[in-house]
């Protein structure tokens, strides 16, 4: 389990890192927490000639609360998300989700930026970013641009990130106070990717759902938003008919792989169950 040889770089600034990416072209890969990349390098499914470690770049760290949005540096680890009181207060779904990722050792190392940039449908954070309507800041030598989480995922391991670009931070509009949220993840054991998972963020007023966003993990070739399912519960008090309609609509956007976690039919079925559970938990938590 020894990776192929590579040259290691540890730039101290973003400019230095993007410069290296341009100069080294396809032969270079950035490493964040390494908890997805190093295992596949050990299997030699990835064999970059140059590894650019983002760990020493201070500007990629940190959580900043603005008036209407929160900005999280790409190199913020899952453990740091879990321990942040700012996030626990304003975007609690991040803590709830981070606690369901991998195990303690992996969470100390693995980063939010790596989790969303990886492009694996099994990663848990992309669906949450879709529920929150987050945007990713991408920086290359040519300049900076922003891409919404909902537009970022093009296929398994294929994202809108261009060669030479680094994801530097994630901007999350702060959901209204009293919003309901939940991430329901079915997994075989701690440390496993989802058999099926659903994230929900909603608001309630006068006992009825006003706004709702639903997104799914590991149920298609990318994380996927289930907008028709969200629409099916808006205006309702989440009665049984609305709940079943949402699960049915969500199943319509599912196309899971058949693997050791189950058949297509099984994963689609429990995917609907995860949507129902996440909706019920989010509705119960919402105030209004």
């Amino acid at each position: 389990m020894i990776p192929a040889p590579f040259t290691y770089h540890r730039p101290k600034s973003l400019a230095e890192a993007t410069g290296l990416l341009v100069d080294l072209k396809d032969e270079a890969r950035v490493v964040a927490g390494g908890q997805s990349l190093i295992p596949i390098m050990k299997l030699r499914l990835a064999a970059p000639d140059h590894l650019i470690d983002l760990a020493a770049i201070a500007e990629l760290k940190g959580i900043a609360r603005g008036a209407t949005s929160i900005t999280i540096g790409a190199m913020t680890t899952q453990a740091e998300l879990i321990n942040s009181s700012v996030l626990a207060e304003s975007v609690p779904i991040l803590r709830e989700t981070a606690l369901q990722i991998a195990d303690p050792q992996v969470r100390y190392q693995g980063t939010l930026g790596g989790n969303v940039a990886n492009g694996d449908p099994g990663n848990d954070m992309p669906a949450i970013m879709m529920c929150l309507d987050a945007s990713y800041r991408l920086v290359g030598r040519a300049g900076a641009r922003t891409v919404k989480a909902r537009d970022f995922y093009l296929g398994t391991y294929v994202t809108a990130l261009n060669a030479g670009e680094i994801l530097t931070a994630i901007d999350i509009p702060v959901p209204p106070a009293g919003h309901g949220f939940a991430y329901a993840k079915l997994k075989r054991k701690i440390g496993d990717y989802a058999t099926a998972a659903a994230g929900v963020v909603l608001t309630v007023s006068g006992g009825k759902i006003q706004t709702c966003a639903i997104a799914l993990s590991n149920l298609a070739d990318t994380a996927v938003a289930a907008d028709a399912a969200a629409k099916a519960v808006i205006g309702t008090a989440l009665d049984r008919t609305a709940l079943s309609a949402a699960a049915q609509a969500a199943r319509g956007v599912m196309a899971p792989a058949a693997d050791a976690r189950g058949t297509v039919e099984y994963r689609t079925d429990v995917g609907g169950t995860m949507v129902k559970r996440a909706l019920q938990a989010a509705f119960a938590r919402a105030k209004g």
């Binding site: 389990m1 020894i2 990776p3 192929a4 040889p5 590579f6 040259t7 290691y8 540890r10 390494g34 908890q35 190093i38 295992p39 390098m41 050990k42 590894l51 470690d53 760990a55 453990a79 991998a102 195990d103 303690p104 050792q105 992996v106 100390y108 190392q109 701690i190 440390g191």
Partner: protein
Amino acid sequence: MAKTHVTMTVNGEPAEGLVEPRTLLIHFIRENLSLTGAHIGCETSHCGACTVDLDGRSVKSCSMFAVQAQGAQITTIEGMAHADGTLHALQEGFRMMHGLQCGFCTPGMIMRAHRLLQENKTPTEDEIRFGIAGNLCRCTGYQNIVKAIQYAADKLNGVPHKEAAE
């Protein structure tokens, strides 16, 4: 492939070596430093037998390159006993509560439990189980590992411990 000079502090002592960038931290610790306490179980980031403490975090040293640990403060199982040779509370707990059978997982378990008890001095049984979920044991069924960690927590907190091993 050109080698890189790495320096770090391991168990309070300066450590250094020349490594290829692709050298995993576990291999550097075991082969260059001859500290064979941290084990290689799966080598695929799953079992936690290779867990060491690095700058206040528990890490799987099979899933990190030695060059990434440049300048780090590392503690391995060899650094746990006191200078006079008496056992650390966790080591004593694993012994008293029969927290090991073959012992292969024990160095990783103890290093992970060490960080857990730094972060939470009075963990509940559920918190212990969740906190060591990245460490697999194929022998004990975990029951006595949980008791060993409870024993150590009590000892470190100066509270008498009553529970007996199963």
